[in-house]
Structures are given as C-alpha cells and as structure tokens.
Amino acid sequence: MSAHKNPRQFPANTREALANAPLQKTLERIKLGFQLFRMAAMQELPELESLRTALAAAKDRALAHLPHYLEQFEKNVIANGGQVHWARSASEAIAIVSRIAREAGVKRIVKSKSMLTEEIGLNAPLIRDGFEVVETDLGEYIIQLRDEPPSHIIAPAFHLSRADVTQSFRTAHTHLDPKRDIDDRKSLVREARQVLREKFLAADLGITGANALIAETGTVCLVTNEGNADLSMTHPRVHVAIAGIEKILPAMDDLALQLRLLGRSASGQRMTVYTSLRSGPRKVGDADGPEAFHVVLVDNGRSQLMRAETREVLRCIRCAACLNHCPVYASVGGHAYGVTYPGPIGAAFQPAISGIAATHHLPSASSFCGRCESVCPAKIPLTRIMRHWREEGFGKGVAETPNANALKLFAFAARHPRLFRATMKLARPFWHLPFGPMAKWRKHRNAPPAPAVLFVARVQQRRKP
C-alpha cells in the first residue's frame, strides 16, 4: 500500500523500468504465460465472440438501469439479514469500514484480494485506527510485507521474482527457523499457508472485494485460486464486502456468463479454483458463516463515467487481459503508471478518479495498436475512450503545451498545401539539431534520408499540361 510513483513522471518511470534488468526478466512471463494461456483457453471456446457480445450487453443493461438494480440488490441483502452502506468517495468508504470494525469491537482484520481497497487506500487508515490488517491473497501478502503497491490487477506481485519472495519471507517471518529451506515455490507456498492460517483463525473481521453483485438475490460473488476469499468471508464473525457500483449484475444467469469469460480471459483457466457466493450472514442451521454481513457500495468517480463517451469502461470485469496483451505494459510493468489500475483499462478508468491533469500520460502512452480491445471480454472500446481522455487533456491544456501547440500549427499548415510543402522542405536542416522532436527520434534510431523532392509536387510537375 505504499506510495505509487508519480503518474506525471511516466516517461521517467518508463526509463527506470526499462533499465531494471530483473524487472525486464519477470516481464517476459507475460508473453510466455498469460498470452499463451489465454489463447489456449479461447481456442476451446468457439462461441467466444457471441459470449463477448452477450457480456457487453448484460453489463450495458445493468448500467442502463443502475439505480434500479442497486436498490434491488440492497433490498435483497437486507432481506437476507445483511446491511448495505453507500459511499460517494474513498474517504466515506474508509470511514464506513472503520466504523463497522469499531462498533463490532474487532481487533484483527484479514483481507481477501480487492483492487477497490487498493484504489481507496483502505489499509493505512485502518492500521492507524488501531486494527491489525493482514492481506491473505499470496501476492497481496507479499507486497504488503514489502510495502509496495500492486503492479498488476490479478497478479499483484507480478514484478517480483521467487528470490525476492524468499528474501521477504526471511525478513518478515522471524519466528521461524532462519536456516529453513524456502528457495522453491512449494516451500514458499507452504510457509505462507502456515502463517496465514494463523491469521485466519485469529481474525474477527474479514474484508473482501466482489467480482460481481447479483441484484435478484442480494449475492456477492468472489473468485480466487487460493481460497482466501472463502476463508475471509466464512470464518471471521463479521464480513465486509466492498465493491464498486459497476459490479452489479441483474441476475445469476449474467454471473454465469461473466464467469465463463473471466477465468479464461484472465489466466486461461476455464474456471478459477474457488468461486464463492455469499448472500447474507449465517442462518440458523448453517455450519459456518459470519454473524454480521455488510456490503459497502462505492462510487468514487464511477458515476462520472456514466456519460456516453466513457460509459463502457464500467463494463470492466477486471480480468487484466488488456494489460497482458498491451505492449507498453509488457515493456515497463505496472508500477511505471503510478496508479492503482495500470495498462489500458487504467488509462481509460483512472482519469475519472484521479483527474486528467495528473494522469494525462496514461491515455497518451499508447500506440493505439488496439490489441487490448481485441481481447477484452466485455468489448470495451479502450482506444476510443483513451482518445476521449486525450481530447479532454488537449482541451484543458494539460498535455504538454509544446505538443498541443505543435499540433495546432501542424493542422494550420496542412490546410495550406504550399505552406505545408514548404515547411516540410524547410524543416529538413533542423532534423539534425540536438533538440526538438527529431532529436528524440534519433535517440534510438537513425533518421530517414531526406529526398531531394516531394512526391506530390514531383507528380504535379511531371503531369503539367
């Protein structure tokens, strides 16, 4: 949960990432792992395109009637014996969770992986308020030990090597034999399980996110591969699920659709190992479950995205396929972006919650190759939305002004063919200046030779009657 890099310094952040040899090594796993896994999973799904269309339609239907479905969800949660809380902002959401914890008299909190709690920065204030807060997703646990933000939406410790994890465990788990062998994956997982099991057993509050909220039943759905959500929502006496309002789905059938695409898009799994559904607290005769069940619904900028230009962002099911297929993300990793949600979805989403002035590099730092939207299970038009934010940045003058002015001059010149051609010719001697755009081009590349004549002018000359 420690501080992010500054998104305003994105170009400098990328240089740092490109020069970081161990990071570059871990990033190779994107092409050899995530991309191949997804491809294999999709090859056995001939109906992929119709499923994507159906998921986009289901999410659009939910968003078109968002207040209705949210209220239906609330009604059903209450009917099931739970409580619903509404938070407009990050600070309201934090205050609500802290109050629930205080009023329930809890001390120890376990958390299942939740990007929303990263977005609102929940852990630090809870710890300040005197609670013990332990992340229980293995990746989240590792970065919590290292005091780092996640670098990937579904694999928060993606930027780390196994040796990094071994070192973190040795530093943190001082109660264990310092001579123990934890150099292989298996023993690391065994040790994490041992440490975290103690935390689960001692916890009196479990905080989870939500992959989906089902309006017709008042159900919270969570998927994990480690069972951490199951334990967080079943064992402690209080369960708080915290979710963005866009996670709402009208019906269980919609959830079935989302689940068919989520695991495959994310990690190439047909289904994740665990799919956990919870509707309300423990009922009479239940073997387990919490005594109290709370859902915190968070806006935090999402309703601003409801306008036509950006609405599709709210279809996102956080599978991270867009990150895994983004050549920029694959080059620099998640931390360079300096925000909670890196990669294309972050470029489309983050300006709404952090402001375009702070995040203008994110939607700009794309070659617009379009691969992200070609793999998005909800068919979010990511390129179009990134272009929208570029337009917003250009209009507000937040993108670097020389670039904006250069574009305006370019458009002016291009409306006057003679001026345009004269400028193209006159610009040539300046190609070799040690500053300006061509100097940036020449940093990594040779400049193309400047031909003696321009093509269009030459044809015109030749064809003169």
């Binding site: 170009p11 990328t14 240089r15 490109l18 050549p327 920029v328 080059s331 620099v332 700009s364 730092a365 794309s366 070659s367 617009f368 190759c369 379009g370 691969r371 070609s374 179009r384 272009r387 934010w389 570029r390 337009e391 917003e392 940045g393 250009f394 209009g395 993108a399 670039n403 904006a404 574009l407 305006k408 370019f410 458009a411 010149a413 291009a414 409306r415 063919p417 345009f420 051609r421 193209m424 755009p437 940036k440 081009w441 940093k443 990594h444 590349r445 040779n446 400049a447 193309p448 400047a450 031909p451 004549v453 321009l454 093509f455 269009v456 002018a457 030459r458 044809v459 015109q460 064809r463």
Partner: protein, 249 residues
C-alpha cells in the same frame, strides 16, 4: 490488362505525408503498380495530411478541419487508394467518428469512407488484380496494427507477394505492435524503441533479410533502429516489391 468492375472508374491517390516527404520512390512505385493494373491514377496536388496526428493527439477541431478538406479533395473520385493501413483507417473508420455529432458531415464522411481502400485491399478486392512475377525470395511480412485490426488487410498483401514470386513469412509476434504509433514514437521514444527491438528480433527470426509492410511508418521506425544497431535487415514498402521496374527512357 486485367478487366474488373472498377475499370474506367476515377481513382485518386492519397499519397500520405510520409510518402510525400520521406519516400517519393514509394509513391512512384504505387503509381506504377496501380497503372499496371489498368487504372489511371490522379494525385490531387491540394492534398496534404489526413489529420491523424491531430485526431490521435486529442485535437478534434484540427482533425475535423483536415478531414473536411481531404473529403472535399477526394470526393469526386470513385475510389481513393491509400498506400497505408493507418492513414486508410483514418479515412475509412475514423472520419465518420470525428463527425459523430455533426449530422451533415457525418453522412458525407460515411459515404466517403466506403470509397477509401488500403492499397493491397484495393488491388485484390476491388481491382481483382493479379500480379506479374517480378521478384523472388523470402520476405518477412509485418502487419501494421491498423492493417491488421482496422482494415483487416492481412491476406491481401500475402496473396499479392506470392503471385509476384516472393515467399512471405509470418513472424511469431504478428499481433504485437512494432512500437511506431505516430507521435507515440517521439513522445514515448524509449518504450517505442524497446517495442521496435522486440519486433526486429521476431522479424529476424523468420530467416528473411527483407521486411515489408503496407505502412511506411512502421518501416521507417524499424529501419531506423535496425540501422542504428547494425542489424542485417532491409525494409521495403510492399508497393516497391510489387511494382514493375521503372522505365528507363
């Protein structure tokens, strides 16, 4: 001469500013190639830039101004050939989007879009052209992202290359961007160059020493890096590989 439905129609060439300023020999090759297929090609001298840098830079006003004048210049033609997937995509896909909230121009842009074709798509799908044998050897084929995703022109260049006698080879990262991306290459040059190096590795892995593409932008970017690093690769726009040799008279 090949007979096709497009025979006798008016064909205009949107040369693209990159070919205009940096590679006139590519423009000449396009003319020879299309003329060989039986068309007379006009090159309207008023043409400048399609406006993509402005559109992608967030300057809707500038992009709309350049789109309007490009439409006005090329509207009289039955077909507009663009020797670039990227600029072609701008005319065909993005122009209607630019005018989404301008009823009059939206209609005009939509009608115009249907006339605009990337070069190889035009030759195969409109002209029904067959290539005369004019070369040989292995060629590493690079699909620009716009040719791949916006224009869906991937089979066409390969078909034409094969007819002309070449052996086009696919590279293992065919769906990954080479890192050019227009102004992206300058604004985020370090990331762009890293992507370019990855792409050059993949292209070199095909075993071919000549790389071709339907887009000059990708090629100039890749060539610039390859030259800087002393890689043994040469780069030719697809029109230069397919065009008949220049008449020396």
């Amino acid at each position: 001469m090949i007979v096709s439905l497009a025979q006798g129609k008016r064909v205009g060439l949107m040369a693209t500013c990159m070919i205009d300023a940096l590679s006139p020999q590519t423009g000449e090759a396009v003319l020879r190639l299309v003329e060989q297929c039986g068309f007379t090609v006009d090159v309207p001298p008023q043409q400048t830039c399609c406006g993509q840098p402005n559109w992608n830079g967030g300057d809707r006003k500038g992009a709309a101004a350049l789109a309007r004048r490009t439409i006005e210049i090329f509207e009289p033609f039955d077909y507009v050939i663009v020797p670039s997937g990227s600029c072609g995509g701008q005319l065909r896909i993005e122009y209607p989007a630019i005018f989404a909230n301008d009823a009059q121009w939206a209609e005009r842009a939509a009608a115009f879009a249907h006339k605009c074709f990337e070069l190889t798509s035009f030759l195969v799908n409109v002209a029904g052209a067959a290539m005369k044998p004019c070369g040989s050897g292995k060629i590493a084929m690079h699909d620009s992202c716009s040719a791949l995703r916006q224009m869906a022109a991937t089979a066409e260049p390969r078909k034409l290359l094969r007819e002309a006698g070449y052996e086009p080879l696919d590279n293992p990262s065919a769906e990954t961007c080479c890192g050019f991306g227009g102004l992206f290459a300058i604004k985020y040059g370090d990331v762009s160059a890293r992507m370019g190096r990855d792409k050059l590795d993949a292209l070199a892995a095909t075993g071919a020493t000549t790389v071709t593409a339907c887009d000059l932008g990708c090629l100039i970017h890749l060539k610039g890096i390859a030259e800087r690093e002393g890689r043994n690769l040469s780069f030719r726009h697809i029109a230069e590989l397919l065009a008949p040799p220049e008449q020396t008279s």
